[in-house]
């Protein structure tokens, strides 16, 4: 589709861009930054209107972007994540009041970048959208410029990110040189028709995997995670652990499924091994963490490992559904956990585990919610997290021998769930079984309570009544466009 015909398909993105720029402008005149935050949420929700989750798919801008149900799912997901992040930033204390306007507009721009990532179907678009998301993320991680840890986190994040993205760019140049095209479709057909040597292609895939692995915190590229998560403002940490990871998976999945189907056996076993390593490493290191942000950072690495299992299995419908379901449940429980972190750190100025001792006595409701999210993250049966894990597990078993590591991955998931249970329960033990050192009231602002309520509500609802969501996801994944 050419440029003019493509415009109706990018209304959501246009709304975000226009809204974000408007917010930058309004920031000059409006001194009540809270209003700007609500404006940003309104912009995000407005962008939902032109979306059609049951679209039949279109390639727009001469094949630069693909609009299909898969990308639409991630666009909706983006809106959900970002509006919640903005909501929980409203009462996050450590942000500088004066710059909140820019903060909200940057989050809107970030949503724009994530939407682009979700539908990129061209190496150029892929690189640009990742660049947009990364750049904005670096800025937001560094947002507390008075806080040295924030700057340090941003610097580390930036350096790792730049290296990863340049490696990916290098791999892309090889691909371009080899195939003479940037579009996924052309590269795919080149590989389908040609007799490309898989050893050569494997190196390009590794390079591209490096860039995408950085976004999803896959193991060789995970070492920025703990520092960046700890130093960043907590809402941004929440974003990094859910938002950028989710679209990272979307891109990873789409790229490998669309561009390299001819080399499925290579990359699927590679990703299988990486998935096992990622989840094991994340869980084992998380056991020894005393800072909750770091703990959740390592746990998010582990969860990335679980989702990677779905990517490694690849083409089965089970795998697609598993990835989407897992991301959705992970969104609910992980953001919920971060909301609690924000509430507590607003009062206590600390994310250390020992400061959570006796939370059940100081704020019983909060502790109960936290326990719920942690149980869900562990994957305790009736809760939403269980279904996510179950889907992944089932996908791995169902794949059988199509991936040489699928049974191993299933075993790894089982073992890792046990390890994960240890450190999640340690937090619960700290809250319920340890006596508090002081009984000061924990202030719970309305916006955070609202966000928390939403997360709890949906976690519980999904636990009890998953079928409509599962149906929606099934429809989404059945329409993923391949060539």
């Amino acid at each position: 589709m050419n440029v003019i015909q493509s415009f109706p398909y990018i209304y959501p993105e246009l709304i975000l861009v226009a809204g974000g720029l408007l917010l930058v402008l309004l920031d000059l005149f409006i001194s009540n930054k809270r209003l700007l935050g609500y404006g940003a949420i309104a912009v995000l929700l407005l962008s939902l209107l032109p979306m059609n989750p049951y679209t039949h798919g279109a390639e727009i801008f001469n094949g630069m972007l693909i609009i299909d149900r898969f990308s639409c799912f991630f666009k909706i997901f983006t809106v959900l994540v970002m509006s919640l992040i903005i909501l929980i930033s409203q009462d996050y204390k450590s942000l500088m009041e004066k710059y909140r306007g820019e903060y909200y507009s940057l989050l809107v721009f970030l949503a724009f970048g994530m939407m682009l990532m979700a539908s990129a179907a061209n190496l150029l678009m892929l690189q640009l959208s990742i660049e947009l998301v990364s750049l904005t993320s670096y800025l937001l991680v560094a947002f507390n410029k008075k806080d040295a840890r924030s700057s340090e986190a941003a610097l580390k994040y930036y350096l790792v990110g730049v290296i990863a993205s340049s490696i990916m760019l290098y791999g892309m140049t090889y691909l371009y040189g080899l195939t003479g095209s940037l579009s996924f479709h052309d590269i795919f057909s080149y590989f389908r028709d040609g007799t490309a040597d898989s050893v050569v292609i494997l190196v390009f895939m590794l390079m591209i995997m490096a860039g995408l692995g950085f976004k999803i915190a896959m193991v060789p590229f995970h070492w920025w995670v703990p520092d960046a998560y700890e130093g960043a403002p907590t809402p941004i940490t929440a974003f990094l652990s859910v938002g950028s990871k989710a679209v990272g998976f979307a891109v990873l999945y789409r790229t490998f499924m669309m561009v390299f189907p001819a080399f499925y056996s290579d990359w699927s076993s590679l990703l299988g091994v990486l998935a096992i390593v990622t989840m094991t490493l994340g869980n084992i290191v998380a056991v020894s963490q005393h800072n909750l942000k770091r703990l959740l950072a390592y746990s998010s690495i582990a969860h990335a490992g679980y989702i990677l299992v779905g990517v490694a299995i690849g083409y089965t419908n089970w795998a697609q559904e598993a990835i989407l379901t897992y991301l959705l449940t992970y969104y609910l429980m992980n953001l919920g956990a971060f909301i609690i972190l924000i509430i507590v750190s607003n009062t206590l100025n600390s994310d250390e585990l020992e400061d959570y001792s006796g939370l059940a006595q100081r704020a019983p409701g909060l502790a109960a919610c936290f326990a719920l999210f942690l149980l869900s993250l562990t994957g305790v049966p009736p809760l939403a997290g269980f279904f996510g894990k179950y889907y992944i597990f089932a996908a791995a078993i169902e794949a059988g021998n199509s991936n040489p590591f699928s049974y191993w991955m299933a075993v790894a998931i089982a073992i890792n769930s046990v390890i994960a249970a240890y450190y999640y329960f340690r937090v619960i033990r700290q809250m319920y079984l340890v006596e508090p050192e002081d009984m000061g009231v924990i202030r719970q602002p309305l916006t955070l309570k609202l966000a928390l309520g939403l997360m709890v509500f949906f976690t519980v609802t999904l636990s009890l009544y998953l079928s409509p969501v599962a149906e929606f996801i099934r429809q989404t994944s059945s329409m993923l466009t391949w060539y």
Partner: protein
């Protein structure tokens, strides 16, 4: 270039061929030496100088390959950006010589050489394996020449690649907002600092 001095057409072509080869060899030498300096030198200023040597030589290649616009843009952009790099080096780093002579870590040298070797092998495999007979793009040199190099670039940029082009400008907007945000000195409106 048209040289009036050499009457014989064949001689002229041969001599021009030699001149091109000489220019290519000089540029290639500079590019490789610049790259080596960038990677191996311990002094950041020299690294940056090596980098610009390398980039300028590459822009010479572009010019020789019939892409003068790319060559000019390469020079403009990298001259500016490497100057900025210099400024950062000077302002952010302590250039006392002792620090700079810190030996590189053995491990990273070994790993990096190994990876570099793998990539070299990769490159040789592609070139030697006949992979380079990839698909011909839609813009052949003859077609480009008939329309004009800059015009082709503009046409492609503003039709096929319009959306990415706009995205780049948007990335720049975000970068600007961020730079202003992080670079601003005063933390509070009317504050004490």
């Amino acid at each position: 270039m048209n040289f009036p001095f050499i009457p014989d057409e064949e001689d002229r072509i041969m001599i021009e061929g030699y001149m091109e080869q000489i220019a290519f060899l000089i540029l290639a030498l500079f590019a490789v030496v610049g790259g080596l300096i960038t990677v191996t030198h311990r002094h950041p200023i020299y690294c940056a100088l090596g980098l610009i040597l390398c980039f300028l030589s590459i822009s010479g290649f572009y010019a020789m390959l019939g892409a003068p616009f790319l060559a000019a843009v390469q020079v403009i952009i990298y001259a500016g950006s490497i100057m900025t790099l210099f400024v950062f080096v000077i302002m952010l780093m302590d250039l006392t010589r002792e620090d700079l002579k810190m030996p590189p870590s053995k491990f990273s040298t070994v790993v990096a050489s190994f990876l570099g070797f793998v990539l070299l092998l990769e490159m040789l495999m592609i070139i030697g394996g006949g992979f380079l007979t990839g698909k011909m793009g839609s813009w052949t040199p003859e077609k480009v020449d008939s329309v004009g190099h800059t015009r082709v670039l503009a046409q492609v940029l503003f039709t096929e690649y319009l959306y990415p082009f706009e995205i780049i400008s948007f990335v720049l907007v975000v970068a600007l907002v961020g730079a202003i945000l992080l670079g601003k000195k005063k933390l509070h409106l009317g504050g004490k600092e």
